[in-house]
C-alpha cells in the first residue's frame, strides 16, 4: 500500500449538538471539528449516547439542536444518496449478515448495491484484508462472533468511504484481528479519512482524540 497517499480531504464538524431520546437529553452542546486524517474515540458510560451520536452523524437520527456539517455542508440539507456515498457505518452487532449465505455472497450483495466497479475483485480483496479469504465460501451460519465482526469490517472497507462510523468495532475480535483493524484505521487516517468510533477500551493508536459524552447528565 503506498504510504500517505491522500485520497480524502473532507472535514467533519459537529456544531453545538444536543441529542434527545425518549424525552431525555443524552448530551448537549457537543462541538468538534475533525480534520482529514482525524480519529475520534467516543467515550462514556452505557447509555451516554455514543451509538446515538454515530447515528446522528450518519443522518439516521435527527438532532434536537445543532448541526452536523460534512465538508462545510449541513447534512440535513444534503441529498441522502450523495452523503451516503461518503460514509460507511458499522452497526454494533452483526445481525444483518444473512446466515444462509456465504461470506462472499453477503459482501457481493452490497458491492453490487453500492455500484462498486469490478465487484468480484473488490469482494476478494476485502475478504483477504480481514483474513477471511479461506472462509469465503463458508456459510455465515457457522461463523464465530469474531469472524462475523471481521466480515462486517470487510464490508465497511469495501465501500471506500471517507468517513467511518464504527459502533464497537473491537467487540469479539481476537488480538490478531484487533491488530488488523488498528492497521486499517491507521491506513485510513493516513489516506486522509476520518474515523469516529465508539468503544469501551481506547484503541491502541497514536493521535486519537477522545470525546467524552454524557458528563452533563
Amino acid at each position: 500500500m503506498p504510504a500517505a497517499k491522500r485520497l480524502f480531504s473532507k472535514t467533519l464538524t459537529l456544531s453545538d449538538i444536543t441529542c434527545r431520546r425518549g424525552g431525555r437529553v443524552l448530551f448537549q452542546n457537543v462541538s468538534l471539528t475533525v480534520p482529514p486524517g482525524g480519529i475520534v474515540h467516543l467515550t462514556g458510560r452505557n447509555g451516554a449516547g455514543k451509538s446515538s451520536l454515530l447515528r446522528l452523524i450518519a443522518g439516521a437520527l435527527p438532532t434536537a439542536a445543532g448541526r452536523v456539517l460534512w465538508d462545510g455542508a449541513d447534512i440535513s440539507e444534503m441529498d441522502r444518496e450523495d452523503y451516503a456515498q461518503d460514509y460507511a457505518f458499522l452497526p454494533p452487532d452483526d445481525r444483518d449478515l444473512k446466515l444462509l449465505e456465504t461470506a462472499r455472497e453477503n459482501l457481493l450483495f452490497w458491492a453490487m448495491l453500492w455500484k462498486i466497479k469490478t465487484p468480484d475483485a473488490a469482494v476478494n480483496a476485502a475478504l483477504a484484508d480481514m483474513g477471511l479469504a479461506p472462509l469465503a465460501d463458508v456459510p455465515v451460519r457457522v461463523f464465530s462472533a469474531g469472524q462475523k465482526r471481521r466480515l462486517s469490517l470487510a464490508r465497511l472497507r469495501m465501500k471506500q468511504s471517507a468517513l467511518w462510523l464504527l459502533d464497537e468495532p473491537f467487540n469479539a475480535l481476537d488480538s490478531h484481528a484487533a491488530d488488523l483493524l488498528a492497521d486499517a484505521l491507521r491506513a485510513h487516517a493516513a489516506a486522509g479519512g476520518i474515523v469516529v468510533l465508539a468503544a469501551h477500551q481506547a484503541p491502541a493508536l497514536a493521535g486519537v482524540t477522545a470525546l467524552p459524552l454524557g458528563a452533563a447528565a
Partner: protein, 224 residues
Amino acid sequence: MRHVLIPHLARSLRLHLRRGPEALVTVFFFVMIAALFALSLGGGQDIVARAAPGIIWTAAALAALLALESLYHRDYDDGTFDLVLMSPVSVFAVVAAKMLCHWLLTGLLLLAALLVVAPMLFIPFAQLGVLILSLFCGTLYLSLLGGFGACLTLGSRKPGILLVLLILPLFLPMLLLGVLAVGASLAGMAAKAYVLLQFALLLPALPLAPYAASVCLTMNVRSS
C-alpha cells in the same frame, strides 16, 4: 436499476431455496385451498365450476400474503433496511426490486400451479388463457399492495393479521374484476373488457405502490 435488481433477485432466490420446504409453502397452500373447496363442495361439476373463479382468486390472495414477512420484516428486524438507507441507492428502486422478487416467488409460481388447480376445478384448458392473464394482473397487484402493506407494518410484532386486514380491502376491486373476467370466459362470453379494466387498475399502482412503500419504509426505519 440493474445494480439494485440483480443483487436483490440473487439474494431472495438464494435465501428462498436454502430455507428448504418453506419455499414451497405458498404453492402448497394455494393448491390445498383449491383442493379443499373442490372436495367439500361435493364434487358436482356444475357447482364446483361455478365457484371456481372465486376459489382461485381467494386462494391466490391469501397465499401471496404468506411470503411478505420473510421478504420485508426479516430485513427490518436484522437491520438490513437500516444499512440500505445508509447506502447510495434509491429506496424506491430497492422496494420495486423487492416487489418484483415477491412476484417471482409467489405470483409466477401460482400461475404455474394453475396447471394442477384448473382441472381440479373443472376449468377447461381452452379457458386457461383468460384465467392466466387475469391472474397475472391480480398477482402483480398483490405484490405491489403487499409490499406497501409490509413497509407500512414494519416494526409490528405480529404483522400477519394486520397485513390481511390492510391489503385485502384494497385488493377487492381487482378481485371483483378478476372473478368477473374468469366467470365471463367460463360462460362463453367476452372477458376482454374486464381484463382491460384490470390492467387499468394495475397501471397506476406500478409507480404509486413502490413510491408509497419507500416513504413508509424510510419513516419506519428512521423512527426506530
